[in-house]
Symmetry: C2
DNA sequence: ATGCCTTACGTTATACGTAATTATT
DNA sequence: AATAATTACGTATAACGTAAGGCAT
């Protein structure tokens, strides 16, 4: 049986020109390499070198062999890389969502149920999410509307009411609900990846949005300041203790959403466990 | 470094279901195979089996690995086959010709000059010969007309005058030349692969052609009978001793040809040695 | 109880290095 | 003389088999 080391040795000889120098580069004695190459020729059933007593040069067959050997070794190297990537892929659940809070909830739930798995999540728009689910990019997606497509299962996951969290001394903090526009040109802490709620932001361009990309940083700022920030019925658990704020629901129609959890049909059991 | 035997072992396990039975089929002890597979997993950096103390079943990564391993082993098997074929190709000079006798002459000449090479020859039509030369199928070709194409060298090789070899007692045996049609409906020994001379045959359909595909058989028939047969100035050397025949040249215009030897420009020296 | 995988240990076989040989530049 | 390949021989390492242990069906 041919062995891969022999192919490496062949390539080394082609790169170094002589068996001796190749042997050096392989940390091998010349005789050892000579013998190994002789075995290779015998096993392949062809002569790879023109041998002139004190010189062995690759013949045309040998050069062809070198080219093929490189290809084979490349594919063997790929093998390890590919398998490691495949293993990582198998042990990761990627979820896509159109809203941040519900995504965090889902990620947390998955993390508890499948502690051996890595949970990755990203925000996206409805169509991109569905395509991503169909193509295998996502294992689960959270959409704004029910998805009715062959091969895709869909269930209602939860509802979210967006609020503003105001400091108690804020003039609007006593209200049962407000419209976002009522904050006028005030500053408000906001998220970079805001999903469906971005529509509400776009409709109220007068406010001064202090956009944060890092969740931790935002939480810090909330604690360290008395700035208004966004909140919702889903974020209550995370912020209930630390934050000295009064949550006032937003009456804008863009401030309410129902989320649907979708999976491929092959993941029926996974979906059932989560709803 | 991964070794190919390990990939074979992996495949054997996937085919036999258990390590023990696979070990049997590989003429190896179970512990040895177990260790070898453990090394493979370590070298690849991934787990290939779900191990339940007394059972090792391929996991999904393992199945992927088996598929890849098969591909790699296939390409290694191909390597040997391909190299042997390539070596054979390199040690063979294939010539193409539009006439049989001049082809035999050329083959004989090459055989003497390059005794280490195998000489293969085949008949073909002009255009096919030129294409074959350009595409590398032929190393040398013999054509009816000079070839003037970039990348192709061409020289006059020889001239051939087709004759009929008649028994001395034949009424036409005393003539200086005849036309083939003068033989009326007589029988005549002929070749299956006749190249350019086939045109002459086609023009004289009345004769009874005893077509032979084997050169040896034809020579035997010539010796054992007094049937007329085809001959030429080029075949004289081969038949001079054995044959009790009188050669009468054919006056038909299709019975004379000039042959040109062509090679690719890279084979300039080869061509020069032959002309 | 049997089948199967793993670990431990002593042994063998294969491939290695050193040294000697030959040939070429 | 120097460089490079091959052959011969003793050695060492790495993989093997046997034996023992443990778990599951």
């Amino acid at each position: 049986m041919i062995e891969l080391v022999q192919l490496q040795q062949l390539i080394a000889v082609s790169e170094h020109g002589t068996i001796s120098t190749a042997a050096d580069s392989l940390h091998l004695s010349q005789p050892a390499l000579t013998r190994s190459l002789q075995r290779l020729e015998k096993e392949l059933g062809v002569a790879l070198f023109d041998r002139k007593r004190n010189r062995a040069v690759l013949n045309r067959v040998g050069e062809m062999a070198v080219a093929r050997a490189k290809g084979i070794l490349d594919s063997v190297d790929e093998l390890a890389v590919e398998l490691r990537a495949y293993e990582a892929r198998l042990s990761t659940i990627v979820i896509g969502s159109c809203g941040p809070a519900c995504m965090w909830d889902l990620a947390a739930e998955l993390g508890e149920r499948y502690p051996e798995k890595t949970i990755a999540s990203e925000l996206g728009e409805n169509d991109a999410l569905i395509k991503g689910l169909e193509r295998g990019r996502y294992r689960l997606i959270l959409t704004e509307r029910p998805v009715e497509k062959p091969g895709i299962l869909c269930r209602k996951y939860n509802e979210e009411q967006l609020c503003v969290a105001l400091p108690p001394e804020h003039p609007l903090s006593g209200r049962a609900s407000i419209r976002l526009a009522e904050l006028g040109e005030e500053s408000i802490l906001s998220y970079k990846d805001f999903g469906v709620w971005q529509r509400l932001v776009d409709k109220n361009p007068k406010l001064h949005y202090l956009v944060q990309s890092d969740r931790g940083v935002l939480a810090e700022l909330v604690r360290a300041s008395s700035l208004p920030c966004f909140s919702s019925n889903l974020t209550v658990f995370r912020f209930r203790t630390a934050v000295n704020r009064v949550r006032v629901p937003l009456a804008d129609e863009e401030a309410f959403a129902t989320f649907y959890l979708c999976a491929r049909e092959t993941d029926r059991t996974l979906l059932q466990q989560l709803c």
